[in-house]
Assembly symmetry: none
Homo-oligomer: 240 residues x 2
């Protein structure tokens, strides 16, 4: 069997200017390799509509999957969603399902879902939302393009949401456990767990809600029995 | 004046597999920004002739300068030099000037300039050698493509050799302001600011630290006075 192919598209002037070092590509590369998907090409382009649309079209036509990072926030330079829609000739507007997620999130914090924040509910028709356990504003998958945030912790959490939905070269089992304690408290035991299960990938994605700190711990691996064993040990360490 | 444009081409399966994190792009981006050259695009591709030749041709035709890293060592998978020659229809063989540099280097160490090492003397006709003060095997410039090593210390040394030979533009002035408020709250005023200063690039980069949400707002431009004016207005809007 030939493994699926993929490309990464990093959208970000801050990478090209040297202000920020892209780390999402390195994370994605490692995860895809574990998932049996061959990352064949990476492109970094600026926050301009024309290069984004052109790159999405060519990469989407060339590879089985395209992952993008950056440009899906609430500010004027966040134009990725509209560019993806344009690349596929799809209609895009504020979508009710995405708006509901944001409404719940901001209501809980006593904040207003203002015009800027509503930009993050702009999702193309027929796109499937990607869960964002950290800051809620969802990513989305349209055709074979998976659109995710640029902030590394959110990119990683979204990737953990979307990767299990993608058929890889070898099956990968993933289980998530929510722990309502600060990351600093759980980091050492989880590190020990990772050492005890070197063939598993154990990820920790912190969240903060209404002053409550916690983390979603994701355990991934190719052997279901091992994943279950590690998850059992994790739950014993941190009972609900 | 419009600044020169550039692209980076990273050649390396080890980056795509997640084994190694590319740091050359970040270094290049910072150096180019200081030199007044706008890095517009980065591509990472695998060690295969076809994608290398195709990428060199398109990037060389699109941008004023192309910088490559990787694939110029002594092993069978170091195919960059031959691919660059092919992209431009140039003749390539072991060149006397490059061979002399290697001969001196290996003689001094009592080592043989064997067939593998001689591969590093394969340089296209009409290319200008790029000095490598670290491990001697030279890079080269052919037309507007600057071919350099993948090892970061050598890449950096080669870039230091080649950059002074390239005419730069106006260095880009950049100022950053940290605002400890959610992006959704500051998006509208920053969008207004971007509209008021259309020649400046105003980017908003959110962060999340220990449950604190905020954003770094970066104002970039070629006119220091304008950047300062926009920054003054931003600080007045969001005083610390």
């Amino acid at each position: 069997m030939t493994n699926p192919t993929a490309a990464m598209l990093v959208i970000g002037d801050e990478i090209l200017s040297g202000r920020t070092q892209d780390t999402n590509t390195h994370h994605l590369a490692g995860e895809l390799t574990m998932h049996g998907i061959n990352l064949k090409e990476v492109r970094v382009i600026s926050d301009d509509p024309e290069p984004i649309v052109a790159a999405v079209q060519i990469l989407s036509a060339t590879y089985m999957h395209v992952f993008t990072s950056g440009g899906i926030g609430p500010t004027h330079d966040d134009i990725t969603a509209d560019c993806i829609a344009k690349a596929f000739g799809s209609h895009i507007d504020i979508r009710d399902d995405a708006r509901a997620i944001l409404q719940t999130h901001y209501d809980a914090q006593g904040l207003t879902l203002n015009e800027a924040r509503l930009r993050m509910a702009r999702i193309p028709d027929n796109a499937i939302l990607i869960d964002n356990p950290i800051s809620k504003a969802p990513g989305f998958t349209l055709k074979n393009v998976h659109v995710m945030a640029g902030v590394p912790s959110i990119f990683q959490a979204m990737l953990a949401s979307v990767l299990p939905t993608i058929t890889g070269g070898e099956p990968l089992v993933s289980e998530t456990y929510r722990i309502e304690r600060g990351e600093g408290e759980i980091a050492a035991p989880i590190s020990d767990l990772a050492s005890a299960f070197p063939t598993l990938s154990i990820g920790c994605y912190p969240f903060q809600q209404n002053g409550l700190y916690g983390a979603n711990v994701v355990i991934r691996g190719q052997e279901p029995g091992l994943v279950k064993e590690a998850m059992t040990r994790l739950k014993a360490e941190f009972p609900t």
